[in-house]
C-alpha cells in the first residue's frame, strides 16, 4: 500500500474510531442535550471517515484496477494491526470527564492539522479537510467549554478531570511523532509533518486548562509511550472495539441495509 494512501487511512481511522467511541454514549448520555451533542459529534466524525475511506478506496482502485475495494472493506474488514489511528482515540470512554477531555485533545489537533491540509495540492484531500473544519470548530468549542465547566466546577468534577488527564496525557506525544507516511506526505507536500503543530497545540490547550484551573502540560516532557497506533501497534482496547464494530459485516459478508 502506498504511503500517501496510508496517510489518508490514518485520518480516516482516527475519525472512525473516535466516532465509534462517541457513539457508545448514544442513549447513555448524562442528560438528553449532551446525549444528542455527542451523538452529533460522532456522526460528524463518521461522515469525515467515510469521505477519507472513499478517497483511499479510489486511490487503491486506481493503483490496482483488478481490485474493487470499497469504503466498507476498509472500515470493516481490516485487522487491528492495519488500523493507523492514534492510541489516544481508541481509549475507552470512561466517565464524561474522560470523554470530553479526549475530544478536546483530539479536536484541537484535528483543527490545526486540517487548517494546513485545506491547502494541500491534492484537491480531494483539501476538499475533505475544508469541509470538515467547520464541524471541527464546533467540536473544539463544545469540548473546551466542558473542560472549563468540569475543571472549574465542584471538587468532584475537578478530581475527575485530574483523573482524565492522568489517563490521557501519556497519549499526547504520539500526536506529534512522525512515521513513514508523514515524511512522505511532507516530501510530496500533500501534507505536513505533525511537529510543526506542536507549539500551537500546547499553547491553545494550556490556555483552556488554565481557565479551567487545571494543571498545564509541558511539551518538554519525554514520552514513555512504546505503542504507536500509526504503525499499527495498538493498546489492548482496539481489538475488542473492532470485534464489536466489525462483527456484523464479518459474519454476514456483503450484507446491506
Amino acid at each position: 500500500m502506498d504511503l500517501l494512501t496510508n496517510y489518508i487511512l490514518h485520518q480516516a481511522d482516527n475519525a472512525l474510531i473516535l466516532g465509534h467511541r462517541n457513539s457508545e454514549w448514544t442513549g447513555h448520555g448524562p442528560i438528553l442535550e449532551q446525549d444528542i451533542a455527542i451523538s452529533n459529534i460522532a456522526l460528524d466524525l463518521i461522515g469525515q471517515a467515510r469521505n477519507f475511506y472513499q478517497f483511499a478506496a479510489y486511490r487503491l482502485n486506481e493503483l490496482s484496477p483488478s481490485e474493487k475495494i470499497t469504503e466498507d472493506d476498509l472500515a470493516y474488514l481490516r485487522d487491528e494491526h492495519e488500523f493507523k489511528n492514534f492510541v489516544l482515540v481508541e481509549q475507552p470512554n470512561g466517565d464524561w470527564a474522560n470523554t470530553i477531555l479526549r475530544q478536546f485533545y483530539f479536536s484541537s489537533y484535528q483543527l490545526l492539522l486540517f487548517r494546513e491540509l485545506s491547502n494541500s495540492p491534492y484537491p480531494e484531500l483539501a476538499a475533505i479537510c475544508e469541509k470538515s473544519i467547520k464541524e471541527i470548530r464546533y467540536h473544539v468549542k463544545w469540548s473546551s467549554e466542558w473542560v472549563i465547566r468540569l475543571g472549574d466546577g465542584t471538587e468532584e468534577s475537578h478530581g475527575r478531570m485530574l483523573n482524565a488527564m492522568q489517563n490521557l496525557n501519556p497519549w499526547i506525544a504520539e500526536l506529534f511523532q512522525p512515521v513513514d507516511f508523514d515524511y512522505e506526505a511532507d516530501e510530496t507536500e500533500a501534507g505536513i509533518l505533525p511537529e510543526i503543530l506542536k507549539d500551537e497545540w500546547y499553547q491553545r490547550v494550556n490556555r483552556i486548562l488554565e481557565t479551567a484551573t487545571l494543571p498545564t502540560i509541558s511539551s518538554e516532557k519525554k514520552s514513555m509511550q512504546l505503542l504507536s497506533g500509526k504503525k499499527g501497534v495498538h493498546s489492548e482496547y482496539l481489538e475488542p472495539l473492532l470485534a464489536e464494530m466489525q462483527v456484523l459485516q464479518r459474519t454476514y459478508p456483503g450484507s446491506q441495509w
Binding site: E33, I36, N40, D44, R50, I128, K131, E135, K141, W142
Partner: protein, 157 residues
C-alpha cells in the same frame, strides 16, 4: 426531454428531514449535465455525516425513474464546501413558515455564536439557546421566553 425539464423535476425532490424544502432551496443540487440520454448530476452534502444524503440520492433516482429516466450518475462534490449561505431566500421563508428559524444571514465566523433573528412562531426576540446540538446535525435547539415554545434553529454553517 431537455436539461431544463430535468432540473425542474429535480427541484421537486424534498429534503427528507425538512419536507418543505427542496434540494434546490438548500443549494444541494450543484449541477446537471444531459447528453446522449445520459444524466450526470452533482450534489453537495451539507454536513459530513448527514444521513439524509443517501436518502436524497435514492429520491433523485426514484423521481427520474417516474419519467423513464434511468441512465443516471450522481456524484457528491465536496468542494467548494456547502454553506448555509446557499439556501435560497425562498427556502428561508418556507423554513420559518414551517417553524424552524432560518440560518443567520451571510458569512458567520463559525465560532458557534450565530443566533436566530426571532422566534419563528411568535416573532419575539426574547429567546434563549437550550443546546447548540439539535435533532439533526444542522439544527440547534432554542426556546422562546415569550410564547414558551421550543423551536429548532438551522445553524449558519
Amino acid at each position: 426531454m431537455t436539461k431544463e425539464n430535468i432540473i425542474e423535476i429535480l427541484s421537486e425532490v424534498k429534503d427528507p428531514e425538512i419536507p418543505v424544502l427542496t434540494i434546490s432551496d438548500l443549494g444541494i443540487l450543484r449541477s446537471v449535465k444531459y447528453a446522449d440520454d445520459f444524466i450526470q448530476i452533482q450534489i453537495t452534502p451539507t454536513y459530513s455525516g448527514c444521513p439524509a444524503m443517501d436518502m436524497i440520492q435514492e429520491d433523485i433516482r426514484t423521481e427520474l425513474a417516474k419519467y423513464g429516466l434511468q441512465n443516471v450518475e450522481i456524484k457528491q462534490v465536496l468542494s467548494p464546501a456547502w454553506t448555509s449561505d446557499w439556501m435560497t431566500e425562498d427556502g428561508k421563508k418556507k423554513l420559518q413558515a414551517y417553524g424552524i428559524a432560518a440560518p443567520a444571514p451571510h458569512h458567520c465566523t463559525h465560532n458557534g455564536e450565530d443566533q436566530p433573528e426571532s422566534c419563528p412562531l411568535c416573532h419575539s426576540q426574547n429567546i434563549e439557546m437550550i443546546s447548540r446540538f439539535g435533532s439533526t446535525a444542522c439544527k440547534a435547539l432554542y426556546r422562546c421566553l415569550d410564547c414558551r415554545e421550543p423551536f429548532d434553529y438551522f445553524k449558519c454553517h
